[in-house]
Symmetry: C2
Subunit: 146 residues, 2 copies
């Protein structure tokens, strides 16, 4: 049996990938139940506040041209509207409608809350886990996604 110098890190990564998989299935399931394509659900989650098309495209990691069609379909369903910017008339801000906001809340109810497994940790353990993850992410400046 070979000695695994890096065994804990490798197992941690495996455990995290399992968590990722659970989260992803939860996200896909929630989107499906709400009759949203994953990309549409991802866009809704990003729209905490109004965003220009190009900004939304950057957050979704795709080209501007993709966002045109995506927003078209959300707009047809009455979930978002395009608002011309006052400062720069080229820019259109995407704004959630009331219906869009309600749907976004439903999504958050399902994917924005902690995985059930966290409840198995006692209060002190949760604080330990929080501190360890903080340290892992210390330098990270990237925003949470999906």
């Amino acid at each position: 049996m070979a000695i695994e110098l890096d065994a804990p890190a490798a197992e941690i990564w495996g455990l995290l990938r399992t968590l990722f998989g659970q989260h992803r299935r939860r996200f896909l399931g929630a989107a499906s139940e709400l009759d949203l394509h994953p990309a549409q659900a991802g866009a809704l989650l990003q729209l905490d506040s109004p965003l220009p098309m190009r900004h939304l495209a950057a957050l979704l990691g795709c080209d501007n041209s993709n966002v045109t069609g995506l927003v078209d379909r959300l707009e047809v369903r009455g979930l978002v509207t395009r608002q011309a910017s006052d400062e720069d008339r080229r820019v259109k801000n995407i704004v959630l409608t009331d219906a869009g906001r309600r749907l976004r809340e439903k999504l958050l109810d399902r994917v924005g809350r902690p995985a059930s497994g966290l409840a198995r940790l006692e209060a002190l353990e949760q604080i330990q886990l929080r501190d360890l993850l903080r340290k892992v992410l210390e330098e990270a400046s990237e925003p949470p996604a999906g």
Copy 2:
């Protein structure tokens, strides 16, 4: 300011979602560089050993019929082959070719290894984190994904 009874769990979930986002971007970037669609890259990662179509579909969370086309395209690129099962002639096992195995290794080099942030933890902290995650996932029987 309202009292957050569940503050650590909520922050943990936020930190984990940040990690998910990093992992997802790394995954999408690696797939793109290797000229693979995300779904194709996900399939390759699942093919550690040969799998029947239906099993692959279940792991990818999509319908059998989708896997037909996906495997078609992987087969055209010489990354996988279909092997009829001996036990049940309805079943086709999807097997990586040598080229497929090499491409899968390249993928794993990029997404299968621990996030760099883990290196910020000392040995003892890694063991603590591992044990906490083990507990969180205690009952989970789901396999890791993508």
